[in-house]
Symmetry: C2
Subunit: 407 residues, 2 copies
């Protein structure tokens, strides 16, 4: 497998999008549904409030009994019942009467307003009233928030704390959401070892196992990370095994655009390589294929290249699989220094942006992790631009926007 | 316990900040450290790259052997060794020789450049070279990214995928981070029942159990949620029990500014109520106290009021406990309609903002959850403003910014 022609980024995205898969749905307990994507309509079983309820601690009364009342012109009512929280009264309130009522309790029949405790003075069964009320004052009417049978939420909504509250109030303790994809990451490379203070010979620390785990986690997907040596048979077995267990497979390493690169060859033998080599910097040696109807993303072994490839190609795919609204924030900033680029290539330059300016973090080679640590964004240079001049406005992709988005 | 004077928001914040606690630290495996806050300096055990390494699949050569070479004027070298990934060569390369080398492998002694495979043609032990190289081309030098003994990260850094990669490369497979606080939430109210299609009498669905769980989760803290009836003795026991188990206790309900509100009374008996009643809308009946040297946040039972109180008072506290950089994004938008407010009161009006305009979502009462679902921000009206006129610029707090912030 040896593709020498680099495909432009938009065309690469198209190829991948045509193979977009969507997860099925599952029922989860409402307490586990935070940040999940709703997969059903919610039709309320209840009105909310479920009854006319008191919005205050105070006394249910007839508003007309308070007309004209002030601290200097008070009136007295008779307390005929007391309703605590969770309690209710069967009494029908008449003119001249008051019923003590807790916040949230049902306003008794006959009453049309609630006077706050602060404007009253209670002595035995006698209540002195020191303020006037309008009818409906401090009453939350039945169905004011939601009416029984109302459709209160549509599918595809991300469940924030407030959506969970609304769903609970509608009478649901579980909810249908989109499943999270299970992602298997196969990090390849004979030279890779786990982090340790001591290294021998040509050993290199496998840092991609952490990067890729965290990158996948940041899309809300499940992730498991494996390691495989650069051996065709081992790689075949690892890939076939992963394709059985996971919805998506990501590999890192072994994608360089040359002969003898195990991963791309194996995907080519087992399925179809649809993409290999994109006009992007960093990240040119990226591949995408389908094996057994499952997507395989072949990322570079270089940490920085792998991150860019993930952000550009894998993240949108994993988000869309779960129906997560995703809209990386592209903002305009003034370039504090010039940034070279080539026509026909899309650049994602590691950079640091404040509210006005963006500064490219210059570094040699795509292995320079330091530049990713110091950056909070990419400068995005489209393929039809030949770089950015000092002081020129350019497009910036903020890392903080690479996440679940609530429109 | 009955505080009738409302405290301004900035003063309430001060009172709470004076009791700010900070969590201790713990060691976690690097694969579990994503989004945690670093609590140690990272001093690298290694240089990175650990040796001069090849940045390409190709052939290590002496650059001078390629000077003047082009596709029409090629030269031939002798291949004397082959280095796969994870492998290395003990040969010392001489002029006229080439050693095949994989990306990431150590550049052999004597060589000073790597020619990409694409610009060569291999026949047996003979290598035809079709391009000129400058010394150092396609070589990543030892320590180019990190030097052994360098301090590569300071404490208080949020660990993103790239920081994890850097820490791994430095030789660490575990890392010291700030502990997450354990938060106990006690939802009070006799009337509360779990969500169900069928309700009786004055029963109200306990939606706050879901809201508060999700709100606490969104700060990265651990959370457990309980329910307690409005009974002084039960509440005392629940609170004392929670104070033993958790670092922070949050209650909802029973905070109305009146006599007979169980939660505030109990906190007053067991410890000290430092705050009760804030000049904020919605959310006036909010309390804060310390019991057994632990903070207790007393939130309203009204879902919307509780959310605002959480966002304004609890969220910054829980973030700071873990040393998470937190900076809710306050942006300016044009108000599409007028928003009334009172002098001396801080308003957090549920609203929906796009890139230019913000529209307050009008609704009666603080129990109206619908308005939270439709909103993506608060309009923030400071205490010295008497509302916002139509078309006027105002300050907006975007919900999406209520999270871990990477400066």
């Amino acid at each position: 497998m040896f593709l020498s022609e680099l495909i432009p980024v938009p065309q690469a995205r198209d190829i991948i999008q045509k193979k977009q898969k969507t997860m099925g749905t599952e029922k989860v307990r409402l307490e586990d549904a935070h940040q999940r994507v709703l997969a059903q309509e919610i039709i309320s079983y209840h009105s909310s409030p479920p009854f006319d309820k008191s919005a205050m601690d105070g006394y249910a009364v007839q508003a007309q009994d308070t007309f004209g009342i002030s601290p200097s012109q008070t009136t007295k009512l008779k307390i005929v019942d007391r309703i605590g929280a969770g309690d209710y009264s069967n009494k029908i309130l008449e003119s001249g009467q008051a019923i003590k009522i807790a916040t949230g309790a049902p306003v008794p029949q006959g009453a049309d307003a609630v006077i706050m405790e602060e404007y009253t003075y209670e002595r035995g069964d006698e209540l002195e009233i020191m303020a006037a009320l309008t009818p409906g004052e401090n009453v939350s009417y039945q169905g004011e928030d939601i009416k029984q049978g109302d459709k209160i939420l549509d599918p595809l909504k991300i469940l924030r704390p407030q959506e969970l509250a609304l769903i609970a109030s509608a009478g649901f303790n579980e909810v249908e959401v989109y499943q999270k994809p299970h992602v298997g990451v196969i990090v390849t490379g004979n030279e890779l070892v786990d982090p340790s203070p001591n290294l021998e010979g040509a050993q290199v620390i496998n840092s991609n196992q952490y990067t890729l785990r965290a990158l996948v986690e940041s899309t809300q997907a499940w992730v498991e990370v494996m390691h495989c040596r650069d051996d065709e048979e081992l790689m075949q077995n690892a890939l076939l095994d992963a394709l059985q267990k996971y919805d998506v497979v990501i590999t890192t390493g072994g994608t360089a655009i040359s002969k003898g690169d195990v991963v791309v060859d194996v995907v080519d033998q087992l399925g179809e390589v649809l993409l290999h080599g994109v006009a992007i910097r960093p990240g040119k040696p990226v591949g995408f294929g389908m094996v057994n109807e499952k997507p395989v993303f072949m990322l570079s072994g270089y940490p920085v290249a792998a991150m860019v490839q993930f952000d550009v190609f894998v993240r949108p795919y994993l988000m869309k699989m779960q129906q997560i609204p995703y809209q990386p924030r592209l903002v305009k900033r003034r370039a504090s220094r010039k940034v070279p680029s080539n026509l026909g290539r899309t650049d994602y330059i590691r950079a640091h942006a404040d509210d006005e300016e963006v500064t490219a973090i210059l570094s040699r080679g795509s292995g320079v992790m330091r530049s990713m640590v110091d950056s909070n964004c990419y400068i995005f240079i489209e393929e039809d631009l030949e770089g950015i001049k000092e002081g020129e406005e350019c497009l910036v992709l903020l890392f903080d926007s690479f996440q679940v988005y609530n429109p």
